[in-house]
């Protein structure tokens, strides 16, 4: 087991903030990252947190509980049109690998970037 530590440093917050800003610029959706306790069932807690955002239908929430080693990604109804659950599952798998290696900040920033890339996929106008 590693040693205990307090919250993120200023530099770590900057890394996450920059990833969020870049993702929002790229995808035109709102991104939010929550790191903290997720009461059980964690999925419902994450959905409730997502519902509290300013524009939930156009928002993506990445929630991580480092103590319970659990992560949840919640997407709004508008976001789901371009960012399907399968793509979100792939990002969750990537985060799983980063977090298991102990890279919390890197995992979060990469996940936000990947979600924006998937969400930025061009919408098919004609079939």
């Amino acid at each position: 087991m590693g040693s205990m530590s307090d919250g993120f440093s200023g530099a770590q917050r900057t890394v996450i903030d920059r990833a969020i800003r870049a993702a929002e610029t790229r995808s035109r959706f709102e991104f939010s990252v929550y790191v903290g306790e997720l009461a059980q069932p964690s999925r419902d807690t994450a959905r409730a947190l997502h519902a509290r955002l300013a524009a939930p239908t156009r928002s993506v929430l990445v929630a991580v509980d480092p103590r319970q080693r659990e992560l949840q990604i919640v997407t709004g109804a508008d976001v789901r049109r371009t960012l399907d659950d399968k793509s979100v599952g792939l990002v969750a798998t990537s985060m799983h690998a980063d977090f298991a290696a102990g890279d919390l900040v890197g995992g979060l920033s990469r996940a936000v970037t990947m979600l924006a890339e998937y969400a930025d996929a061009p919408e098919v106008m004609y079939r």
């Binding site: 993120f8 999925r43 519902a51 480092p66 799983h96």
Partner: protein
Amino acid sequence: MSHTSSRPARTDLRRGLARGLVRGGAAGSLLALIGLSAGAYADEPVGWESVQSVSGLQFFLVLLLIPLGLAIVISLVVALPSVIRGSSYENGEIWAGDDEWFGGPKDGVEKGTDPARLESAGEQGGAGARY
């Protein structure tokens, strides 16, 4: 033939003499300079205060203890804020920080969940995992 053979010998003699004079002049000038600088010593002016002798303890205090004390105080002032704040999260450590919400509402997680907002959020999607 005899004229042509005696001229170079006379020229060499002159050159050697000139070199000797230059070298001697340079050495003389150097010695004169050293002599002049040696003569710069002077007695302490009468109006000046006589310098008190510094003890070993005073020397130790002024040149070692005071600078060392200042260095310790400055180091403490610089390091104190981070010591009070505590160490920040490092990769691989156990998270012990407060809940943080980037891009979340201003009142954070304190406000709790609102079923009405959950209803209005529409159909949510996504995925989850344990690691």
